[in-house]
């Protein structure tokens, strides 16, 4: 039985990991773009981005999952009821319920990109003006100053908060359960209904512990690697 459960949980865990890795792949760069937006000198862009970040950080991720899962379908249904030949509404009418995994991925990417963006912003703004000024008097361009001098210092500064956020993401993936994504919690829960067993659900904790343990080791390694200088 233990093996059967482990196998089933591994299947669910594969989805969990897929969601985790895909979220990182999209959210890490998107967060940088958002952070540049929130530091923009163009005020409308800055305020638009900051309001967006406020909305995303100010509402539960679970709610965002539900909204992103259901709203396209609702819009599509409303559009199908309209008696019009408007091209845009006809296009909306083709919207169906979003695929579960994609809906979860989109929600996680948007949510985490916003959190990452604030960490990036804090890191970039914490670098002293003197570093840029030293680059300037040495005749470096602004991009040269950012990529050759500032960036590594920012990375060193943001490793601890980023590792925190990324470890949280591993466990937050279980929220996808709310829109019936077949991730590890779901696969553990299934044994309650099918075999009346509760322990497979508890057993899922071991998988999370393992993943977070590995990530902790990885981040410690990176921190150690960057410990040759102090900022």
């Amino acid at each position: 039985m233990f093996l059967t459960v482990t196998q089933a949980l591994l299947e669910g865990f594969a989805t969990t990991l897929e969601l985790f890795i895909m979220t990182l792949i999209f959210a890490l760069p998107l967060g940088l773009i958002i952070s540049f937006g929130s530091m923009s000198k163009i005020k409308p862009i800055k305020w638009f981005v900051r309001t967006f970040v406020w909305i995303i950080r100010g509402t539960p991720l679970m709610l965002q999952l539900i909204i992103i899962f259901y709203v396209p379908g609702m819009v599509g249904m409303w559009a199908r009821d309209q008696e019009t030949t408007n091209v845009f509404i006809e296009w909306l009418a083709t919207w169906k319920v979003m695929e579960r995994f994609s809906a979860a991925l989109v929600s996680f990417v948007i949510n985490y990109a916003c959190y990452f963006s604030e960490i990036y912003r804090g890191g970039i703004e914490s670098i002293s003006k003197g570093q840029y000024e030293a680059c300037h008097v040495l005749g470096m361009s602004k991009p040269q100053a950012f990529f050759h001098v500032v960036l590594l210092q920012v990375i060193k500064r943001i490793i601890p908060p980023m590792s925190n956020e990324i470890i949280t993401l591993v466990k937050d993936t279980s929220l996808a359960r709310i829109i019936s994504v077949y991730e590890i919690i779901w696969s553990g829960e299934a044994f309650i209904k099918s075999d009346g067993l509760l322990w497979p659900l508890f057993y899922t904790g071991a998988f999370f512990l393992l993943a977070c343990g590995l990530l902790t080791i990885l981040f410690n390694k990176i921190e150690k690697k960057l410990s040759f200088f102090s900022v």
Binding site: S128, G130, Q131, E133, A134, C135, H136, V137, L138, G139, M140, Q144, H148, V149, L152, Q153, K156, F228, F229, S230, V231
Partner: protein, 260 residues
């Protein structure tokens, strides 16, 4: 011939007038010290000449080339002028070394980045980089740090860090070297080594402008001293004239605070 000429320079921060019309010139090979109490505009003057701040009005020329002119309003033209500013070096109060580079790396970084633009860079990459390393080593040797090439700033004392930053500025081969209170972040024990380094540069006839609170040092090393007070030059002359026999009552009052 004057290597640096500053004409009627003013700088406002909002409604605060920090510089209220500064004019002076400096001959090649001379050392100018700027003294004055905090808030008198010394550092702002330095930053305006260096292009870290944009002056409100006035004109600055280096080596007979205009580097800033407030009557020029065209942004492109202003940027082109500013290009001439690159032969001014600056040593900061807070060193501003790049923490992730070694002493050698700090000195070579800007040169290596600039070398990438050379047309023969790809062909002679190795010899160009070796040449840059050699130049950097020469300057680090000059400031007495040839045994610290591979050390990171966090492994160096404050005085050593400041000497690396002097080497870094020298390596750009500046026509004028500016110092912004180079010893203010150092304890008195470490101040000596920086002053010794600057003194050596003076002996090599490096043109220098030094903002400092070290009066004895200013007396020793400078050819000319400017005393700034409330955004204007209150007194100007040889160290003898300004520091030993000041005429302006403000200068006297300022110097008195040091003798106690």
């Amino acid at each position: 011939m004057a290597i640096l000429e500053v004409n009627e320079l003013t700088k406002d921060f909002g409604s605060t007038k920090v510089l209220k019309g500064i004019s002076f010139s400096l001959e090649e090979g001379k050392v100018l010290s700027i003294i004055g109490s905090s808030g008198s505009g010394k550092t702002t003057l330095l930053r305006c000449i260096n292009g870290l701040e944009t002056a409100t009005t006035g004109k600055i020329s280096v080596n007979d080339k205009v580097v800033f002119d407030s009557t020029v309003t065209d942004k492109k033209e202003l940027k082109a002028l500013r290009h001439n500013q690159q032969n001014i070096g600056l040593v900061f109060q807070q060193f501003n070394l790049f923490p992730q580079y070694t002493a050698l790396g700090n000195v070579t970084l800007a040169m290596k980045l600039a070398a990438k633009k050379r047309p023969d860079y790809k062909k002679n990459k190795k010899s160009i980089l070796e040449e840059i390393d050699a130049t950097a080593k020469k300057y680090l040797d000059k400031v007495g740090l040839s045994d610290k090439l591979g050390n990171y700033p966090c492994e160096l004392s404050g005085g050593q860090q400041q000497r690396v930053s002097i080497a870094r500025a020298l390596a750009m081969n500046p026509q004028i070297l500016f110092f912004d209170e180079p010893t203010s972040a150092l304890d008195p024990e470490l101040t000596g080594e920086i002053l010794k380094t600057i003194r050596q540069l003076a002996e090599d006839n490096m043109t220098m402008v030094i903002v400092t609170h070290e009066m004895n040092f200013a007396k020793d090393v400078s050819d000319e001293v400017i005393f700034m007070d409330d955004g204007v030059i209150a007194e100007q002359g040889t160290p003898e004239e300004v520091l030993v026999n000041p005429k302006n009552p403000r200068t006297k009052a300022f110097l008195n605070t040091y003798e106690k």
